[in-house]
Symmetry: C2
Subunit: 175 residues, 2 copies
């Protein structure tokens, strides 16, 4: 049970004339074939550039769809664009606080999917670990994402993300 927290709301732009139901607004924003998949790859896969997302995605998103989703997510306030010093026309996409707070949602999404679908073990290990880690692990993960995406710090070697990646590699190598 958590303390009564102040209701901080209204940070995200809203399409006009829409139902004020939070479920509906979230579905309108994220309820499509690719938005959450792209966010998953940025969040868990550590991919921050167009090419990385295009090439390393398990599902094979088309480039026009990726471009459209990225600009939609930037417009919605879930991603920010940054110049990459290494290449003048390289663009780095970073998660915002709003996107980072999707971690509990992504956790539930993965947990439900791996509970009810016949998923491949190496791809569901992320979801299983995160689900079993509970809110505590979720909080640590979110702090880690804040350090990396909001403060520009490098990934820590002993963090949740490293743990998830290691578990994935172990599972992938033994199959």
């Amino acid at each position: 049970m958590d303390m009564p927290q102040p209701v901080r709301t209204g940070r995200l732009p809203v399409p006009e004339g829409k139902s004020g139901c939070p479920t509906n607004l979230t579905v309108e924003l994220l309820g499509d074939r690719w938005s959450l998949v792209v966010l998953r790859d940025v969040m868990f896969g550590g991919h921050r550039h167009f090419r990385e997302l295009l090439t390393n995605s398990v599902e094979g998103i088309a480039s026009n769809i990726l471009a459209a989703r990225l600009s939609k997510l930037v417009g919605a306030g879930l991603l920010t664009r940054h110049d990459d010093p290494s290449h003048r026309q390289k663009i780095e996409y970073r998660l915002t606080e709003a996107a980072i707070e999707l971690v509990p949602l992504m956790t539930q999404l993965g947990a439900w999917g791996s509970r009810w679908f016949p998923t491949s073990p190496e791809l569901s290990i992320h979801a299983q670990l995160l689900a079993r880690g509970g809110p505590d692990m979720g909080e640590r993960f979110m702090d880690e994402l804040r350090a990396m995406h909001l403060e520009g710090r490098p990934q820590r070697a002993d963090g949740v993300l490293a743990e998830l990646t290691l578990a994935y590699e172990r599972a992938a190598s033994t199959s």
Copy 2:
């Protein structure tokens, strides 16, 4: 931290040749404009018939889309169809266990939406209460849904659903 639970998986049919990532499979199933909204109305609104869902929906779904979603959700194993004794061509839709276990996901969805969008108070009260109730309230709600949708028992007057409905009505009347 919960006990190592047996991995029960593979109850839901899967489109062939798809990525085995649980996030992706869930997004493929529920990641559209209406599926989660329909489930929300069955779950929280207590609507179980076509006309109820068509008429009482806040967002105004079209009848062909509703029909398509209902039959998709039945095919996917999230809803079941039942004859209604009161009217020979009336059909009752009930949640399955898989759908009931979406409660934590719906909770996170609503919590995130009411945290980040400027939602109307009466429509977000459900989400806020459920989020503050924590996993405990979620479990009670799921048990209640099981009693109603799987065992055919009537809604209990002192349950979570009644509490949510009451809170909504209070909020709606004072605005």
